[in-house]
Subunit: 409 residues, 2 copies
């Protein structure tokens, strides 16, 4: 069902010096599938993350925040699928800590040097014994070339593994970036939970990396939506291994920072868009761009209202140019002083609504032609400023309902 999902060549995913990956089949929820991933990071790397804004955040998210704050130098990430260890109260916290302690014991680290991640069903106890039993195998098959296997190891309702990689030259030094993702979105994910892990070999000072991860998330994983639900477990992690010959980046002003920032953003956007292309039941990939707003916040607000509307999404699923539904979504987005008489709406190159009303020159067959495509640009011009925002989303199909009605069975 995935929409124009690029075929990913495992060999094209570059190893990142200072980072190795290994998995296990630990029977967390189902047998015979990779469901535990351990990412090892050499000493001296810096690691930063952003996490779900859900107040009901999962135990591993809380432990990640604690361990990043402890600043003892992260040495490993451990991910399990099949169980989110969320809504599990104190026992869940104990399980997340026990996971870190066990991996630390096996690998000779401090528990605070471990970041734990879980994804899957929530409100069910984490099978901690099976998870711990899987860790030795995940440590035993660590390799720098395991990015594709790692992408497979973190899948839940994903139908395809998601990975992206590239090399860029900054100030004459080659920098290698590789990343994996799964799930359905960050600020707006469904319970499949969005996880993203992106490593590169440039050396970046911790405060700069803390800035970078926010900048990148706001331009990638924070710009996608499948169904508007926000997971308890969403996490996006940047790992700067520091093995590249590029001199350390210690400020956000340097041209090297800008070059690295843009390269990381591109990879993160790949990973985020792959999630939408594999959105549950997705048959179409829609880019919603809102221009001419007073500020980016109101543009995002309107873009998300469109991207979340079940009526808009079902209309796109049906290739039905019932485009008034888009105007309705703009109208209820919550921008209270919006002058709808100034709004233009484009579907790709077709001007559908002009100055808040139907464009006299608009013909249904033009809308129909665009709606039939699998990649569609919804462009809204507000005519009240210069700010813009973009959201990537997909349609709402029968399969979305089937997948989520049957998720646990």
């Amino acid at each position: 069902m995935a929409v124009n999902f690029p075929s990913i060549d495992p060999a094209a995913l570059h190893p990142v010096a200072g980072v190795t990956l290994g998995w296990a089949e630990a029977n967390i929820r189902k047998p015979n599938r990779k469901d535990v991933l351990v990412i090892r990071v050499d000493e001296g790397a810096s690691v930063a993350g952003v996490f779900t804004q859900n107040r009901f955040c999962a135990a591993p998210v809380t432990v990640c925040r604690e361990h990043l704050a402890a600043a003892k130098g992260i040495r490993a990430l451990v991910v399990n699928t099949g169980n989110a260890n969320a809504g599990t109260g104190e026992p869940g916290m104990a399980h997340a800590r026990e996971t870190c302690a066990e991996l630390a014991r096996l690998a000779g680290f401090d528990a605070q040097q471990i970041l734990p991640f879980s994804t899957g069903v929530i409100l069910e106890p984490l099978p901690i014994d099976r998870l711990k039993a899987g860790l030795p195998a995940a440590l035993a098959n660590q390799q720098a070339a395991h990015w594709f296997d790692a992408a497979q190891a973190i899948m839940t309702t994903d139908t395809l593994p998601k990975a992206s990689s590239r090399q860029v030259t900054i100030d004459g030094h080659v920098v290698t970036l590789s990343g994996i993702s799964k799930g359905a979105g960050m600020i707006r994910p469904n319970m499949a939970t969005m996880l993203g892990f992106l490593a590169f070999d440039a050396k970046v000072a911790q405060p700069v990396l803390d800035e970078l991860v926010k900048h990148v998330a706001d331009r990638s994983f924070n710009c996608i939506t499948i169904d508007g639900d926000t997971s308890t477990n969403d996490s996006f992690i940047l790992i700067a291994s520091g093995k590249s010959s590029l001199p350390a980046i210690t400020s956000t002003d340097s041209p090297a920072y800008v070059a690295l920032r843009d390269a990381v953003t591109e990879v993160a956007q790949d990973l985020a868009q792959l999630i939408v292309r594999d959105g549950e039941g997705a048959t179409k990939f829609m880019t919603v761009t809102v221009e001419g707003g007073k500020d980016a916040a109101e543009c995002r607000q309107i873009a998300y209202a469109i991207g979340h509307s079940p009526l808009v999404k079902t209309a796109f699923y049906a290739s039905d140019p019932n485009l008034g539904r888009i105007l309705a979504a703009i109208g209820y987005a919550g921008v209270t002083d919006l002058d709808v008489g100034k709004i233009d709406l484009y579907l790709d190159d077709v001007l559908v609504a002009k100055a808040g009303g139907r464009n006299p020159a608009y013909k249904e067959e033009d809308g129909q032609r665009v709606m039939k495509k699998s990649e569609i640009l919804i462009r809204v011009v507000l005519g009240r400023g210069n700010a813009t925002a973009t959201v990537w989303t997909c349609d709402l199909s029968h399969d979305y309902v089937s997948i989520n009605a049957d998720y646990r069975s």
Copy 2:
């Protein structure tokens, strides 16, 4: 597909003195169906309304607001289905005014004494000539006993006509109330648009009626959601014909006001719940009650987050007690200082989550037992205050997608 939808006996819908109803088959969108309704109101009645908060409100909504503000004494309401006359710009405004002018001409009223309503597809020109051509027939078959036919005349994606009626005795005087509704919700309706018209024969001073309509809407049509979309056309109108022998109600302090208020609220809640029971593709009716909040606003915010979550709604459709999804929705509802450690979650009488975690005594089969029912209470206790709020909603099924993917075909 409607959920426990009561069979409505046309004969049980009491005529309301001073109010008559008539319809026409005007081929607005499809042939051979009632698609125009005219409600006539005798001189001396007071009329009040609340309307959609959508910035892209339809032309008729704008005209309704103008004509109510003109305060010339409303004498008739005219409703068409099949076309919402929304997103139609200036021509749409002209069509709404022309509709009122034509009805005024035919009935001998002032155009400002007419309230126009439209529901159906938006962004398409209103077929004004067919609408005007239908008005004489709608005026010709005016009868006080036509409430059931009127309910049929305003249906769009509704599968069943929606009406409610009762008589109450206030200070020894009988007061008769009858109402009709269609569509899917007021603040959160889908594009089927919610319309509600409720008439009674008590005499109520205009400022009191203006208060009453807001009070009632906030406890009925503003408490339902199907898919979180907000229509451009939603309207709820109260008609006080003043024909009852009950002395005029001129203040909100009188016991008579309270008695009338509660009777009107009950009828409006009937009409609102009928909309949810007939929600597009609905197979289950869920009452979401949030208790123990600091204020009603945060309780509503959380109740709506649960009621809107496609993941919660698909889980109920599947009778799958994947109840962590409810905790997740509570967590992302946007109550930033929420202490999830204090939250209890009940499904009917089953305590699922206690103090933010799974209730140790909770058994999946207990959740399963409740999930299989067609009427389910989702009860959240926040443990941070005394405020409460209730939202009525339904599940999200394959048929919801089918209906909305095919709505215009």
